[in-house]
Structure formats: structure tokens, C-alpha cells
């Protein structure tokens, strides 16, 4: 590879300059913050760190964070698969508008996402009086936090699946149907095995966002300690109380989650590449050396 590129390579000093610039930038803006989270969390030793994590409020925040993610992900998985099926396998009018609308939550500020649900379900909101009369709490309670998280993580899975299913075409599914498979048989035996890595990829990204969301959840949570505090909100409260160890201990759990996310994402990317490479090598063996 380097041999064929020699005529089109940068001079050595440019190469090293670019390498130093790029890696230096990443070191200062990514590497250092990542290390700092753990160093700050362990600043007073392991016992103080574990103590901070064993606190009941920290534990309930972790529980709520996991609970919200478990409530949100199935809804968005079903939506993502349905939307990708309709968009990738059929032609209809307004398709590109639909794709743009699915992207909308990516463009909306998390704070605005929280606000729109306050306007609907808050005390002075559209459904506020009705909800109060029936003693249903959505805002400043867990249901509101789930709805806000649903909004924020809405596009992730659909965005992964649409291009994947478009590139796969529909011949395999059509073959299954014409051989007499029912719709569900076709879905479980043909479609799902084909999209499983893409689906998993979307779920990994959506999960990271669901567990880490701050702005939207913060607006609708009401910050009731031990009740409507997710881990990111718990980090904020402790930090504002100058509890540096507690804040960074909770933050380190979220940073570990981020690292697990990155590893899982890389593994899935590698699996997807391997599967497409297997197909490609049959057609055109790659040059080596």
C-alpha cells in the first residue's frame, strides 16, 4: 500500500506535524478529561470512593437510570424496526420528509425537549388540570422522565436501520414470501438475522444516550432526591454541593458505561465489516502487502 502511495505522500515533516497536531488535540480534549474523571474520583483513595457509591441516594439514582433505559429501549426498538421496514422496503410519497422528521429530535435542544412536555403535562399545561383531577403525576415524576428520554433517543435505532435495510434490498424477503413463509416467519428468519448487528449498534447508542441524558430529564424531573434523580442529575447535585468525591464517583460510573459503550460499538462495527468483507472477497480479492 505504502509503495503505490509514495508519489502521493506528504513530505516527512508534514506527516509528523499532522500526526502531532491531531493526536495532541485528541490528547488534550479527550484523553485528559477521561483520565481526570477517574483520578478525581479516586483522589481520596478507594475506600472513600466505594463509600460514595454505596450511599442510598447514589444507588437509587443508578436504579432509576437503568429503569428508565429499560422502559425506553423496547419502545424505540419497535419504532426503529417498523420505520426502517416501511422506509427501506417500500416507496411512497413524502418519504424524505418522513426521514427528516425522524431526525428532528437530534436537532432540538434537550432543554426545549423537556419544555414541550411541561407545556403538555405541567400544572398549567394543556392536560394539566385533567391529570391533576385524576391524580396522575407525569411532570416532576418518573413518567415524564421516561417520555422526555423517549423523545431524545427516538432517532437512534431508526437512523442505523434505514440505510442498512436499504442497502440489503428486498430480494431475500421476497424470496421467503414467494416460497410460502408468513410475514412473521419472514421477519424472524430473514429480516432479523440480516439486521441484528445494525440493530444492536443502534441499541448501544440509544442506551448510552438514555442513561446519560441530562438536559431534557433535568427540566421534567423536579430534582427530588432519592425519587426522580438519575445518575447524571445526582452528579450535578453533588457537584453543586462541593462534594467533589461523590460527584466524580458517580461520574466515574457513567464514564465506565461510556467506555463499555465504545468497546461494544467497536466490536459490533468490526463484526459488520467482517460480514461485508466476506461477501466482497468472493467477488474481488483485495490486494495484499
Amino acid at each position: 500500500m505504502s509503495r503505490s502511495r509514495r508519489a502521493t505522500e506528504e513530505p516527512g515533516w508534514v506527516r509528523y506535524g499532522l500526526l502531532a497536531t491531531g493526536l495532541g488535540f485528541l490528547f488534550f480534549f479527550l484523553g485528559l478529561p477521561l483520565v481526570a474523571v477517574f483520578v478525581e474520583a479516586l483522589a481520596q483513595g478507594l475506600p472513600a470512593y466505594l463509600e460514595a457509591l454505596r450511599e442510598p441516594e447514589a444507588r437509587s439514582a443508578m436504579g432509576l437510570t437503568i429503569g428508565i433505559a429499560l422502559a425506553v429501549l423496547p419502545c424505540n426498538i419497535v419504532f426503529g424496526v417498523a420505520a426502517a421496514w416501511a422506509i427501506a422496503k417500500f416507496d411512497f410519497k413524502g418519504k424524505s420528509l418522513l426521514i427528516t422528521l425522524i431526525d428532528l429530535p437530534f436537532a432540538v435542544s434537550p432543554v426545549v425537549a423537556g419544555l414541550i412536555f411541561i407545556l403538555l403535562f405541567g400544572a398549567q399545561g394543556t392536560f394539566g388540570p385533567w391529570l391533576a383531577a385524576h391524580d396522575i403525576k407525569i411532570i416532576f415524576a418518573v413518567p415524564g422522565m421516561i417520555i422526555a428520554t423517549l423523545f431524545i433517543t427516538f432517532p437512534f435505532i431508526a437512523r442505523e436501520l434505514i440505510p442498512l435495510m436499504q442497502s440489503q434490498g428486498k430480494e431475500e424477503e421476497e424470496a421467503a414470501i414467494s416460497l410460502g413463509a408468513s410475514g412473521w416467519q419472514m421477519f424472524w428468519r430473514v429480516t432479523l438475522p440480516n439486521i441484528k448487528w445494525g440493530l444492536l449498534y443502534g441499541v448501544i447508542l440509544a442506551n448510552a444516550r438514555a442513561m446519560g441524558e441530562f438536559g431534557a430529564v433535568s427540566v421534567v424531573s423536579g430534582h427530588i432526591r432519592g425519587e426522580t434523580n438519575t445518575l447524571p442529575l445526582h452528579v450535578e447535585i453533588l457537584y453543586n454541593e462541593y462534594n467533589q468525591i461523590g460527584a466524580f464517583a458517580a461520574a466515574s460510573v457513567l464514564a465506565l458505561l461510556a467506555l463499555v459503550t465504545l468497546v461494544a460499538k467497536t466490536v459490533v462495527e468490526w463484526r459488520m465489516k467482517k460480514e461485508t468483507a466476506m461477501l466482497n472477497t468472493v467477488l474481488a480479492p483485495e490486494k495484499t502487502g
Partner: protein, 292 residues
């Protein structure tokens, strides 16, 4: 394409119907409801709130810092993407995976960490402050937080495009006498420019709405380092729901314009680099420049 193939696969009505209902209930109706809410205020009052001294200052800080962060990431993102695609170095796969950290790390964690790093006694602040530059608790802090949060966008939109540049095009330019710098300016840059602009716009759009990472490092002084999302929240906390809504609708309108612009850019980028003609024409242009 034809109505025929519609009939072969099942589930069109079900999947599209479900998609539209879910989209409407969760996204469109709530957003529409907020826009309708501003009808209570009237257009003139929305404009008055949006152009108030404090709101205007918040918009200026938000857009200024977002623009600065997107420019910084446009430059360094190009360098990082180039290095990751074209050069070999130990630990490359690790570095490549690390680029996505800002997508995976919750913004609150980024916020408190950057604030701690850049504070006067922090690892970085203690070296930077003696130089006369305060970063934490100033508008510069906002820029730093936004650089972190939007770092992956430019890198990730550029990487596949740089990978797709065919070696022959660069070889052609070189063999026709173009210097490496001319080849970059006249062959490579035009080929990757739509993607660079897309990454820039994605970064800018994300930065404008960002809240979690910014509030810890910004200092949040009204008129100086207060961003619009924070102003919306403080209006909400003072029970000024209409004021918050007016600002939110302005933000929403801006996000929507940015979203349309990004879609347009992506379409341009997709049609640009799959088409080989402009690249070959560009190789000719570069050599023409060299001849002159």
C-alpha cells in the same frame, strides 16, 4: 418501485401506520403544541422577548461559542480524520474508537470534568491562567465544552470520504506535475469539502442546543456567559412559562433551518463523491495550476 412490488412484501400499512402514529404522538404534536402556545403571546411579543437585552446577549453567546467550537473542530477534525485514514501509528484503532467518547460520555460528566481541569487550580488551568487567559467560568469555557461535545462530527463525516478518494486521481495530479499542496487544494479539498461543511453544520447545530456540559464551566453570568438553553430554564424556574416558550420556539425555528441545511448538504456530499467526473476534472485543474 412499481405497485407490483408493494404487494409482495407484507406489513407496509402496519409499519408505516405505526411509525406515523408514534412520530405524531411523541414528536410532532408536542412540538406543534408549543408553537401553538406562542399564539397566546402573539408574534409581536415573541419578538419582543427574543430581542430583549438578556435574550439577545444569550443568543450572541450561544451562537458565537457554537461557531467558534465548530470552526476549531472543522480544522482539527480534518487533521484527525486525515491522520486516522492515511497514516499508520501504534494504537491507531484505540484512538479511532476514542473519537466517539463525546457521544458516549454523559454531558454532565464532561461538564464537571472540564470545569475541574480548566479551573484556576486544575491540571490545565494552572498552566493557562498565568498566561493571562481564564477559561473556566468565562465564555471561553463554553467554547471548550462545545469543542469537546461536538468533536466527533467532523471526523466521522470526513473519514469515509477521505477513504473513498481514489489513489489514481492523486497520482494523476502528481504525475502531471502538481505539488502535494496543489493536489490537496485543487483535488482533495474540493472532493471532501461538502462533507467538511456537513460535519461543521452538524457540530454547530448540536452546539447551539447543548446544555449539560456547558453550565458547569460557563459561570452562567447573565449578559456575559449565559447560554440560551440556560435562560429558558431560569425563566421556567421563575414560572415565566410564556417567556421560556417564546425563546424555545425561536430555538426550534433555528434548529429546523439547520436540519434542512444539513439534509441539503448531505445530499450534495453524497452526489459529489460518488460521481467520479469532478475528481478527474479536478486532477486536470491541479496540473493546469502547476503548469502556470
Amino acid at each position: 418501485m412499481t405497485t407490483h412490488s408493494h404487494r409482495v412484501l407484507p406489513g407496509f400499512g402496519l409499519s408505516l401506520g405505526y411509525t406515523l402514529v408514534y412520530l405524531s404522538l411523541l414528536i410532532l404534536l408536542p412540538l406543534g403544541g408549543m408553537v401553538l402556545k406562542t399564539a397566546d403571546l402573539g408574534f409581536a411579543q415573541v419578538v419582543e422577548i427574543a430581542l430583549g437585552e438578556r435574550s439577545l446577549a444569550a443568543f450572541r453567546v450561544t451562537f458565537g461559542a457554537s461557531l467558534a467550537a465548530a470552526v476549531v473542530n472543522g480544522f482539527f477534525g480534518l487533521v484527525v480524520a486525515w491522520v486516522l485514514v492515511r497514516y499508520e501509528f501504534p494504537g491507531k484503532r484505540f484512538v479511532d474508537a476514542l473519537v466517539d467518547l463525546p457521544f458516549a460520555l454523559p454531558t454532565a460528566v464532561a461538564g464537571i470534568t472540564l470545569a475541574t481541569l480548566y479551573a484556576g487550580n486544575g491540571w490545565l488551568g494552572r498552566w493557562i491562567e498565568p498566561l493571562g487567559l481564564k477559561i473556566a467560568y468565562t465564555p471561553w469555557g463554553i467554547v471548550v465544552a462545545l469543542i469537546f461535545v461536538t468533536l466527533p462530527f467532523v471526523v466521522r463525516t470526513l473519514q469515509p470520504v477521505i477513504e473513498d478518494i481514489e489513489a489514481e486521481v492523486e497520482e494523476a495530479a502528481a504525475s502531471l506535475g502538481a505539488s502535494r499542496w496543489q493536489t490537496f487544494l485543487k483535488v482533495i479539498l474540493p472532493a471532501i469539502f461538502p462533507a467538511l461543511l456537513t460535519g461543521f453544520a452538524l457540530a454547530f447545530s448540536r452546539a447551539v442546543g447543548e446544555y449539560g456540559s456547558v453550565i458547569f464551566i460557563a459561570g452562567n453570568l447573565p449578559l456575559i456567559s449565559e447560554i440560551t438553553p440556560l435562560l429558558i430554564i431560569s425563566k421556567l424556574e421563575q414560572y415565566d412559562v410564556l417567556g421560556a416558550t417564546a425563546l424555545a420556539v425561536v430555538m426550534l425555528a433555528i434548529s429546523f433551518v439547520l436540519l434542512l441545511a444539513i439534509n441539503g448538504l448531505q445530499w450534495w456530499a453524497a452526489n459529489r463523491y460518488t460521481n467520479r467526473e469532478p475528481l478527474e476534472a479536478a486532477a486536470g485543474r491541479a496540473s493546469a495550476g502547476a503548469a502556470r
